[in-house]
């Protein structure tokens, strides 16, 4: 991804434009300040993969039935893709409550398809209390781990977190650290379409 670009290539993209132009596998983080629009972006990301025959996994701390209904509302043929074993929806709310150990490992154990060679698109969120320094430290550790294993994974991940959940005192600093463990970033806003770009390390 480390290519030299000329000035004219430094063009900002909306999140949808960014996802539509995505060719490589990417570990993306989305900072969400507009939940309705962010959900649209998540579904768009998964749908782009489904249309290419990739496996789509939605793992967020939200009610499964509600999500499936919203997916249908967005235009995803949930029944068809589930029948073809291409779409899984998980409510991750209780993963840490019932399982011991690292929450990232727990998430992977539950959501990963049995065939590791299968190309996947995952929208996920680790369930942490991000409002405290301690919570953010643990969260950052998990994201570091997820980025370190990302290379061995075929497909793309979108980690999606509400901006308001991030510990506010050092929010920019947390974002900076989180970006070091992702390839791309999406920001959504309540006022406009937001912005998306790759982050070079």
């Amino acid at each position: 991804m480390n290519q030299t670009k000329n000035k004219s290539q430094f063009t900002e993209l909306t999140p949808i434009e960014f996802l539509d132009g995505m060719h490589d596998d990417k570990h993306i983080i989305m900072f969400d300040e507009n939940p309705t629009y962010s959900k649209k972006i998540q579904f768009h990301f998964l749908n782009n993969g489904l249309e290419k025959g990739e496996h789509a996994i939605y793992a967020m701390p939200k009610d499964k039935d509600v999500i499936e209904k919203e997916m249908k509302g967005y235009g995803i043929d949930v029944e068809k893709y589930q029948k073809e074993n291409l779409l899984d929806v998980y409510n991750t709310e209780k993963i840490n409550q019932y399982l011991q150990g690292d929450s990232f490992d727990n998430l992977l154990r539950i959501i990963m398809p049995s065939d590791p060679a299968k190309i996947c698109r995952i929208v996920g969120m680790l369930n942490f209390d991000m409002n405290t320094q301690e919570g953010m430290d643990v969260f950052l550790k998990s994201e570091k781990k997820s980025h370190s294993v990302f290379e061995s994974f075929s497909g793309s991940w979108m980690c999606s977190y509400p901006t308001t959940n991030i510990e506010p005192e050092n929010r920019l600093n947390w974002i900076r650290k989180l970006l070091k463990n992702h390839d791309s970033v999406i920001f959504t806003s309540s006022h406009n379409e937001g912005i998306a770009f790759d982050v070079l390390h």
């Binding site: 063009t11 900002e12 300040e33 901006t163 308001t164 920019l172 806003s189």
Partner: protein, 269 residues
């Protein structure tokens, strides 16, 4: 040194446009992150809450620091496009060039509206830019106007006097210039402002009349205060002999104008 002597910028357009454009781009990150970015900018610049500044390089560095060079470029490019949308005119170039052009236009607007009693120090380093600015100063065709220069310059309705003519007799040169200004002003039968300018007053230094000319600079301010005259004293900044001379010149003028970049500063009371 100019800031130390108590001058502050009196141009607002560029900083306002840059701030509004940055604001629009920051909003794409969401309200919370926008507030964080502005708070961060304020913490490093010590600027007040209002966030209205044109230090684009600081903004760029914040994004380089937060993200990386390429992301910084993307965000600055967004700000540039937003600026172009807001100014709605034929300005081109990078952010620096756009800001400079906005300031140049604001200076010209200021020069056109001069209403008398101003004594402006113009520290220039580029002859072409200097000439373009001076040309805009002499826009009134129905009032007496005079320009002192080294080479013959033809501006419409402007009496052109050469330094070589004034300096032909060093002993009377200063008196001759003062007399020329007085005579030009006496010709003014209107309520409009008499406009007078020297293209490069370092000619007086070059001919060994530094002390005498600086004495004139010190005194002539009070004459302009009484008379309805606007005067620009142009100096090639690279030919001002030392900081002491520059400091003296600053003390004699309420306004300082620069050409690269275009800046207009006013002495704060």
């Amino acid at each position: 040194m100019i800031k130390k002597e108590g001058y502050e910028s009196c141009l607002n357009d560029a900083s306002t446009i840059f701030a509004q454009s940055s604001d629009a781009v920051f909003l794409k990150f969401g309200d919370k992150i926008k507030s964080d970015i502005i708070a961060y900018l304020q913490s490093i610049t010590k600027f007040p809450q209002s966030y209205n500044f044109l230090y684009y390089s600081i903004t760029k560095n914040v994004f380089l620091d937060l993200f990386d060079e390429e992301s910084g470029e993307i965000i600055m490019e967004s700000i540039r496009k937003e600026m172009l949308r807001r100014i709605d005119s034929d300005i081109h170039g990078n952010i620096e060039e756009i800001l400079d052009e906005i300031q140049r236009r604001e200076i010209i607007k200021y020069l056109k509206t001069l209403s008398g009693h101003e004594h402006v120090l113009f520290l220039w380093s580029d002859k072409d830019l200097r000439n373009k600015i001076m040309e805009k100063f002499f826009i009134k065709l129905n009032v007496p106007q005079a320009l002192i220069s080294s080479e013959r310059i033809k501006f419409p309705a402007v009496e052109n006097v050469l330094y070589s003519d004034l300096l032909s007799n060093k002993a009377t040169a200063i008196q001759k210039e003062l007399q020329m200004i007085t005579e030009i002003h006496q010709k003014n039968q209107t309520v409009l402002t008499t406009r007078v300018a020297g293209m490069d007053c370092t000619q007086w230094f070059k001919h060994g009349l530094s002390k005498e000319f600086l004495a004139l600079e010190r005194q002539i301010g009070s004459y302009f205060e009484k008379e309805n005259i606007s005067c620009i004293c142009g100096y090639n900044i690279n030919k001002i002999p030392d900081n002491k001379t520059l400091k003296t010149l600053l003390k004699c003028h309420d306004y300082v104008m620069l050409d690269t970049p275009h800046v207009l500063l006013m002495k704060q009371v």
